[in-house]
């Protein structure tokens, strides 16, 4: 199950003087959801388009299902499914026509009607593309990406511009693709999306891959700090927390203490300390670092900047 279906080694792509992708390498394993994560303009889409065979890298090597995407042409295109960033279809093309046409150009396909049903587009069969909502358009593009029952599915900025509810619905669909044994490669600039959806992520910035791992692994490696916030009026609390093993700092803000440390048992230690000394606590919560914090740590700035 863990054999790589995609191998990218040292690819570089420049548009004139602008280097969009620089020495990017990673592998994608069969059956996983792999995310290329980074801010807009980081080189995610260019990398993706090299995998889809729409662009040829200036240097380096790409292999998808054992084929060179740019040269393999149809041999690979029938085995992959593609959803492009901000793609459109003909305004007055009907949903049903689109799916049936797509089905007609692949050698083997899923049943178009069943696919529309599964993606909740059955009632929209006769609607023109231009009349669809953002979420419906994205579901149609997912349908088109899945019509040939591909082994690898590429999804570029799938949920950009969707409201949170539509976004969650799309996430469920993507998980469904993985459950059918397919490999999914997606790009996103939403850390929450990467964290909730991806099995592994590559963090990309300025055309370079900074690190690749599971979201959890990245957090453990780059942001091992734990944080516990305790609100207590107990005057001795700060001193008592400071002497706990592995505590780096305790910041007091009025009655609220923020305890930081790298000790994995920090939370347990704080709870036991509170209980041992019978402190009156009015609030208690922990803050677990996220990919957002990892990105901040690795790049020195927030992904939204």
């Amino acid at each position: 199950m863990n054999d790589p279906v995609i191998r990218v080694s040292g690819i570089r792509k420049a548009y004139g003087p602008v280097v969009a992708v620089d020495e990017v390498s990673f592998e994608v394993r069969r059956g996983e959801i792999f995310g290329l994560v980074g801010p807009n303009g980081a080189g995610k889409t260019t990398t993706m388009e090299c995998l889809e065979g729409l662009r040829s890298p200036d240097r380096g090597h790409v292999s998808v299902l054992g084929l060179d995407p740019f040269r393999a042409g149809t041999a690979l295109k029938i085995k992959i499914g593609v959803q492009l960033q901000e793609a459109q279809l003909q305004k007055r093309l009907k949903v049903g026509e689109a799916v049936r046409f797509w089905a007609s150009i692949y050698p083997s396909t899923l049943d178009p009607e069943a696919l529309l049903e599964q993606l909740g587009l059955r009632e929209k069969r006769n609607a023109w593309f231009m009349t669809l909502s953002g979420g419906q358009k994205q579901r149609l593009f997912i349908a088109l990406a899945l019509i040939n029952d591909p082994e690898v599915v590429f999804l570029d900025e799938l949920t950009t511009g969707l409201d949170p509810q539509a976004r969650r619905a799309i996430w469920d669909l993507v998980r469904g693709i993985r459950e059918r044994g397919k490999t999914v490669v997606l790009t996103t600039h939403l850390m929450e999306e990467a964290e909730r959806l991806c099995d592994r992520v590559a963090i990309i910035e300025h055309g370079r891959v900074i690190d690749v791992d599971t979201p959890r692994g990245l957090v453990a490696r780059h942001c091992p700090d734990r944080m516990v916030v305790v609100a207590t009026a107990d005057a001795s609390a700060r001193e008592r927390f400071l002497v706990l093993p592995g505590v780096d700092a305790v910041d007091a803000d009025g009655t609220s203490m923020t305890i930081r440390g790298r000790n994995p048992a920090l939370v347990t230690d704080v709870i036991q300390c509170v209980s041992r000394h019978g402190m009156a606590v009015t609030d208690f919560h922990t803050t677990v670092p996220t990919l957002e914090d990892v990105f901040l740590r690795l790049t020195g700035h927030s992904i939204r900047d």
Binding site: E52, G53, L54, T74, K77, I78, V82, L84, E86, A87, Q88, L89, Q90, K91, R92, L93, E97, F101, W102, S104, I105, Y106, W128
Partner: protein
């Protein structure tokens, strides 16, 4: 060419759904033709008058050339819109061959050109009478051939226009002067020498010569030179377009 017929049929349906598409392509040439025909017939006193001559051969050829130009302007605009919207790129990520995508659009344009011509001939019967049914068939063939040739220039324009907003004015800017110098309105021999040269290097000039000759009842073999030059231009522009065509 797998998918060519399906895509062509799809594009025909989509074009027919455009509110102004059918009207612009089919109705306008017919209306202009009928209007001019009525005007000219009123003005033409004797069979030898210039108006009568224009009515006899000029008007059908003018209408044919207008159809050709409208097809190419429409093609350039559609390609630009498809590129801007990422539709071309999305289609290219499928097993469809790129040439299939473009060929489908050419077929759609030729089909609508043929339809317009048929309509024009049907409603225009009372203004002129071509010599024979064979002339009509040859004229239709000559028009489709010329249009296909002119569409190749359209692809070259479509290769370089950045956005749909520029596509239509640029295509018009290129084709209307070509039409003016094509010998349709006044003989090329009357042009100053440098414009005569310009006229000679424009494919439209040969299309006009071909269409006029065929309409007068000449066999196609009289116009092998025109046909060869149009084919040569088409090959050249197609080659250039395939070299410079951008999908996104």
């Amino acid at each position: 060419m797998k998918g060519l017929w399906q895509l062509t049929w799809l594009e025909i349906k989509i074009f027919a759904r455009e509110p102004l598409g059918l009207f612009g392509t089919i109705a306008i040439p017919v209306v202009v033709f009928l209007g001019l025909g009525r005007l000219m017939r009123g003005a033409a006193g004797s069979p030898g008058a210039p108006e009568a001559m224009f009515l006899k051969t000029g008007l059908p050829v003018l209408a044919a050339i207008l159809m050709s130009i409208s097809a190419v302007v429409s093609l350039v605009t559609i390609i630009a819109i498809y590129r801007e919207g990422g539709i071309l790129k999305r289609l290219r990520a499928t097993p469809l061959h790129p040439a299939t995508i473009l060929t489908a659009h050419v077929l759609v344009k030729l089909l609508f050109t043929a339809l317009t011509l048929a309509l024009l001939l049907a409603v225009g019967r009372r203004f002129y009478a071509p010599d024979s049914a064979a002339t009509l068939v040859r004229f239709a063939a000559a028009l489709l051939f010329s249009t296909a040739g002119v569409l190749s220039i359209g692809f070259l324009i479509a290769s370089v226009v950045p956005t749909a907003r520029f596509a239509q004015p640029l295509a018009g800017f290129i084709f209307y002067p070509m039409m003016a110098l094509s010998g349709l309105f006044f003989p090329i021999a009357l042009l100053p020498p440098w414009l005569r040269v310009a006229s000679r290097v424009m494919p439209m000039t040969y299309a006009v010569s071909l269409l006029q000759g065929v309409w007068r009842g000449e066999p196609l073999s009289f116009h092998l030179w025109d046909i060869a030059v149009i084919a040569l231009f088409a090959a050249l522009f197609t080659a250039l377009a395939s070299r410079f065509f951008k999908w996104d």
